[in-house]
């Protein structure tokens, strides 16, 4: 499978690129696009329709192309792939209960191929991504490889979008299902975040909205633990805290999972996490222990390289929180991962990632760098 990656900075540039994209050696049928929210998404969509390319993608909080990170741009991966080897669906979250659309996605995936694998990009800031993943898995006869991320909006924390060539939505998911007998998907997610402080207990929560921690309003705990003054509880300050210091939810057997606060509700003194939690869940705040995590992450992807030595393309979902924590060093991480395969790579800075930590099952995560290797058989 031939693939090409592009970093574009305007719709005009996109039109120009698409107008000459078909050559004798490269006739793409599918485009994966991760784009800044600053572009006219409808116009962008029409460009791909006009170019007769199937499209799937989402908005971002930063775009990754090959070995570098960009802002206010479009990351485009065009793939010359047999249209029979993939299927696309845009699933709208019509119901309040995420379980229902999740089951519809699961059914679509199961019906698409005997051995499917999926890339999932979800819009919507308040969605419970863990339940989305669980719902999909629950409606397939056996666990399927799902990789993906929650769309971003350049860290405005207002609206995030997913799209296909058919539609753009701020309340739905774009699904790209591959026939894994034709195109294999191998993925891995690495975090590196370390816990800090004592164990706290979520004493009141509904879904992914946390109202009380240790019997105290969640927002008050948040402000107190991060030493924020009234003036500092402004939008920007909070977002920095939200994305960089997620909750490390403790699980049985010494396991844990990171959950970033995505929205702060000052009126109800509550916090919406990227995925649901249970009352009684115990957690510690967490932080990046230092810049050595970048090296450790690159080293960690050696495992994926040995599992999937060859690639036609790579997709990277890297949490926006990592960017906040590593700053310019995030480029080193991207470069390091890209260097293992040296193939076209696109990705984006996300508000949450779907993947598997080492040999564990696929779940929704925060603060991870999740890579997926695509290879045509």
């Amino acid at each position: 499978m031939k693939t090409k990656s592009y970093q574009l900075t305007s719709i005009e540039e996109l039109k120009e690129t698409l107008s000459v994209i078909n050559t004798k050696d490269f006739q793409p049928t599918l485009a994966i696009v991760f784009t800044s929210i600053s572009f006219d998404l409808e116009e962008m969509r029409r460009c791909f329709v006009n170019a007769n390319l199937a499209l799937v993608g989402c908005t971002t909080a930063g775009e990754i192309v090959d070995d570098s990170l960009h802002e206010h741009s479009m990351a485009v991966l065009c793939m010359d792939i047999d249209p029979q080897a993939f299927r696309i669906k845009l699933e709208q979250y019509q119901e309040e209960n995420i379980q229902v659309p999740a089951e519809r996605i699961g059914t679509f995936v199961s019906e698409s191929f005997v051995k499917p694998g999926m890339l999932l990009m979800s819009g919507g800031l308040a969605i419970d991504a863990q339940r989305l993943v669980q719902g999909i898995n629950a409606s397939t006869s056996e666990p399927i490889p799902i990789y993906g991320g929650l769309a971003g909006d350049d860290l405005n924390m207002v609206r995030t979008f997913a799209f296909t060539h058919e539609k753009v939505t701020d309340n739905g998911a774009a699904c790209l299902v591959f026939n894994t007998e034709r195109v294999t998907l191998n993925g891995l997610a690495i975090s590196g975040w370390k816990p800090i402080g004592g164990i706290n207990v979520i004493t009141k929560a509904i879904g992914n909205q946390v109202f009380e921690i240790n019997g105290e309003p969640a927002y008050d705990v948040f402000v107190r633990y991060f030493g924020l003054t009234e003036a500092e509880t402004k939008h920007d300050q909070l977002i920095g805290i939200q994305t960089n210091y997620p909750f490390q939810i403790l699980r049985e057997g010494g396991k844990h999972i990171l959950r970033s606060p995505l929205l702060v509700h000052k009126d109800t003194k509550s916090i919406s996490l990227a995925a649901s939690v249970q009352e009684g869940d115990r957690f510690r705040f967490s932080t990046s222990p230092g810049f050595e995590v970048v090296e450790q992450t690159i080293e960690g992807f050696k495992g994926l390289k040995s599992e999937a030595p060859d690639a036609d393309a790579l997709i990277l979902f890297s949490c926006k929180g990592r960017h906040g924590a590593f700053g310019p060093m995030i480029n080193d991480e991207i470069k390091g991962i890209h260097s293992y395969w040296n193939k076209p790579l696109i990705g984006f800075l996300s508000y949450g990632e779907i993947g598997n930590l080492s040999a564990e099952e696929i779940e929704f995560h925060n603060e991870t760098c999740a890579a997926v290797v695509l290879k045509e058989q």
């Binding site: 402080g197 706290n200 633990y225 030493g227 932080t287 310019p328």
Partner: protein, 338 residues
Amino acid sequence: MSDVLEKIWRIIQNSTSIKGPEKEGLLEDLSRLRKEQNAYDFKLKRILKDKSIAVNILEATIEDLEKKNLEVEQANQKLSAQQEELQAQKQIIEENAKILKQNLEKLELSYRELEQFSYIASHDLKSPLRTIASFAQLLERRYQAELDKEGQEFIQFIVSGVNQMSDVIQGLLQYAQIGNKAELTECLDLNEILNVIKLHLQVDIEKHQVKFVTDQLPRICGNKVGIIQLFQNLIDNAIKFRGAATPLIKISCRHLDDTQHWEFCLTDNGVGMSEEFQEKVFLPFQRLIGKKTPGLGIGLAICHKVVKLHQGRIRFESEPGVGTSFIFTLSSILPEES
């Protein structure tokens, strides 16, 4: 620092004295330096922020732990106070238990002494009574001719009084004999017990054509003499206080699952009695219908004592002119088990 580098970069860029590859090399080096400086600045800023946040989190954690510690201390103090109170209450209870035990021991001793006294008194009273009766009868036989009618009547009164007193003593003896728990171990078929009672009361049963309607009765463990007395006294009363109709005695029973007791109900169609005598009727020597009716008024007291001995309760329901039901319970298990 990055501002300084920026200025130098501009100076070199605008410089006319530095040219060609030298200029390009310098600008390239400066660009690299700028990038490194930016990264350094970011790292520094990040480290400082992380450090500040970490300090805050740790301080908040310590604050929370101290708060929890205080709560635990307060809870401990409360617990200690409660423990002290409990200890004090325990002491009071122990003292009360001690007093209760002493009282029980005293009561048991008194009860044993009373029983012993009743038994001895009954036996010791019987002998002089027999002497009085015998000599009164001897006096009557030998000196009948010398006694006038009034004298003979006096002797009759003596004999009658002695007989009456003898019956009272007999009743007291029976009453005192009931009460030894060690004798509760006998396994009794109540159907057989009932047959024995029917034999005892055969004369009266036949005379008054008494009819019985009886459930299949259970086997229980208890005091045979006492159980016979219990049923016999109740049946005897039913006959004694019969009404105009032919006496009909119904005996029914059921097992009370929750209390491990059998409940019996003995119903007659006799004259009945007022329920105001509910307590009084079970006291010794209480005769409710006057002295014309035969008996000492000890029967139901014995019944009460037997039932109590078998960890049961007894009461009656009655309607004058319709009949009386005695309802009583008896333990279905051995006293040791209970």
